[in-house]
Point group: C2
Chain length 163, copies 2
């Protein structure tokens, strides 16, 4: 007996919704493997994009998620935050499965990332140049869009306009 699949065929509406959720994200939930326990750890991070539309964050070396990503760059990022009202589970959201790449001051591309990030996150001016802060670029391998109850899609990086 075949298993019932709740996944719908990907269409342009799903692609556009996923891209919008990523472009509009100001923060998200990052899932990493905690090196101390080898179990999942989910934390909140700020989110933006680079000029190619890839998700980006600015993180501190002192945080648990940064230590985890240095030990294992495999991670997941959930974006698409519900408002204060209504049913959170009817609000569309996007789960990305990705690998994290650090971009530090002096690395190629750091200046462009810094300028773009500060344009979108002006409060980061206070700490963006601290020695313990670095950008993280998320190389997306797969994406799962949940457009609300019963509206699930599996997307490729290409569906998000990446690569």
């Amino acid at each position: 007996m075949p298993e019932i699949s709740p996944i719908r065929p990907t269409d342009d509406e799903a692609r556009a919704l996923a891209r919008r959720l990523l472009d509009e994200a100001r923060f998200g939930a990052l899932g990493v493997i905690d090196p101390a326990t080898a179990t999942p750890l989910v934390t909140r991070i700020a989110v933006g994009t680079d000029s190619g539309g890839r998700p980006v964050s600015l993180v501190s070396d002192l945080s648990a998620h940064t230590r985890a990503l240095k030990a294992d760059p495999a991670c997941s990022l959930l974006v698409g935050e519900p408002g204060a009202r209504g049913d959170a589970l009817t609000h569309p959201r996007l789960t990305l499965q990705a690998r994290a790449h650090f971009v530090r001051a002096g690395d190629p591309g750091h200046g462009a990332l810094r300028a773009r990030w500060l344009a979108g996150h002006p409060k980061s001016t206070l700490y963006v140049d601290f020695a313990d802060f670095a950008f993280v670029l998320f190389e997306v391998g797969a994406a799962h869009l949940n457009g609300g109850f019963g509206r699930a899609f599996v997307l490729s990086p290409g569906d998000l306009g990446l690569r």
Copy 2:
């Protein structure tokens, strides 16, 4: 040279804030290990508590997170959602590291969980009795409270009034 730790000593204010974030959570970000890739996967789930204050969710067997939790019950749950305005990273949030236990119709405690859940999530009446839905109880092993920039605490289950 000792590493700088951003963790503060746990106090009653931190305990009360953590407990409030969990009691007020209506949804959260669940991190699991995707059995297909052995990498993290973060999805949004509805959140409530049982009569002992433990976090609870109601999940479908058709969802990726349920399949993952059946393969590996180690997980993490992030609660404490920022409002639409202001800086999301100054909003307090709580990361739980936990193990998931399923409670299905017919299992001990299902009736009490069902009644409490529906009181807090009345829209779930539509699907709570579907055969593919089950409750998940999260047995908390550790908790990390981030009360805003530079205000981090590591909490035990006892700090949350659990066990």
